[in-house]
Amino acid sequence: MTEDQTLTCQELVELVTSYLEGGLSDVDRARFEEHVAACDGCTNYLEQMRTTIRLTGMLTPEELSDEASRDLLGAFRTWRA
């Protein structure tokens, strides 16, 4: 990371995904959380990333068109016969 022990905001935003994935070492995670606790900008940023993930998760996987579903069901029937 940096030569000294403190994490800048610009460095922190690049670590958000690693943090959320549980991919930071104990030391790095502690530094990350310490920074967030003291920084409103980064608190908001982390919150925005969490919201982004939540909203993305609300997109439904694309449904098959009716026509394709019918074809598929037909194919299953033939296969079983």
Partner: protein, 185 residues
């Protein structure tokens, strides 16, 4: 499955064919499935093989891993560097224009069809591998291990691709929600 098939095929109709062929392939090959990979990985491998065969004429045949290398290099900041203070400022690399809290945004606006369509648009504009990774992880709910196995990419590349994808979607949302705020009610 349709989403993934569409990455290889020229049209939705062909992609639907591929999904259908995949299920038939799965049923016919089920007794050959040895459980060395998860069933899901196995099914999606059949899907991509069929999609590649069908889409070969129109589309590329570059493996995911080289595409992933290409999309994770050169470096690409998650946030526009101009939003941070410079070396000469009081807090070098601290926020110059910090992000706002979205707590004030009413939940019904946050979850509105319009907001969600912004998310969808932002994802559609992503480079292919970033789009694939965020789709599998955050829409389909796959684990990072499943995505790495399926795309045959490293854990590091998977994380970088996911990071870039999510960062861009966040950026699009931030822009959209900020412009909404200024608009007259």
């Amino acid at each position: 499955m349709l989403r993934i098939a569409s990455l290889y095929t020229p049209s939705r109709a062909v992609a639907e064919d591929v999904v259908q062929e995949t299920w038939l392939g799965v049923l016919q090959g089920l007794d050959r499935f040895e459980g060395r990979s998860s069933l899901k990985t196995w099914i999606f491998r059949i899907l991509t093989n069929r999609a590649k065969t069908r889409g070969q004429r129109e589309r590329r045949s570059i493996p995911f891993s080289s595409l992933a290398d290409r999309e994770t290099d050169p470096s690409e900041p998650a946030v526009d560097p101009s939003r941070f203070q410079s070396d000469d400022d009081r807090f070098p690399h601290g926020w110059a224009s910090p992000p706002a809290s979205w707590d004030e945004v009413p939940e019904e606006r946050l979850l509105s069809t319009e907001t969600l369509s912004k998310v969808e648009e932002a994802i559609a504009e992503l480079p292919e591998m970033q789009r694939l990774v965020i789709t599998l992880r955050d829409i389909e709910g796959w684990s990072s291990q499943e995505v790495c196995n399926f795309l045959d990419i490293s854990e590091t590349n998977q994380r970088v691709l996911l990071h870039r994808a999510r960062s861009k979607v966040r950026r699009a949302l931030e822009e959209y929600l900020a412009s909404e705020e200024k608009a007259p009610a």
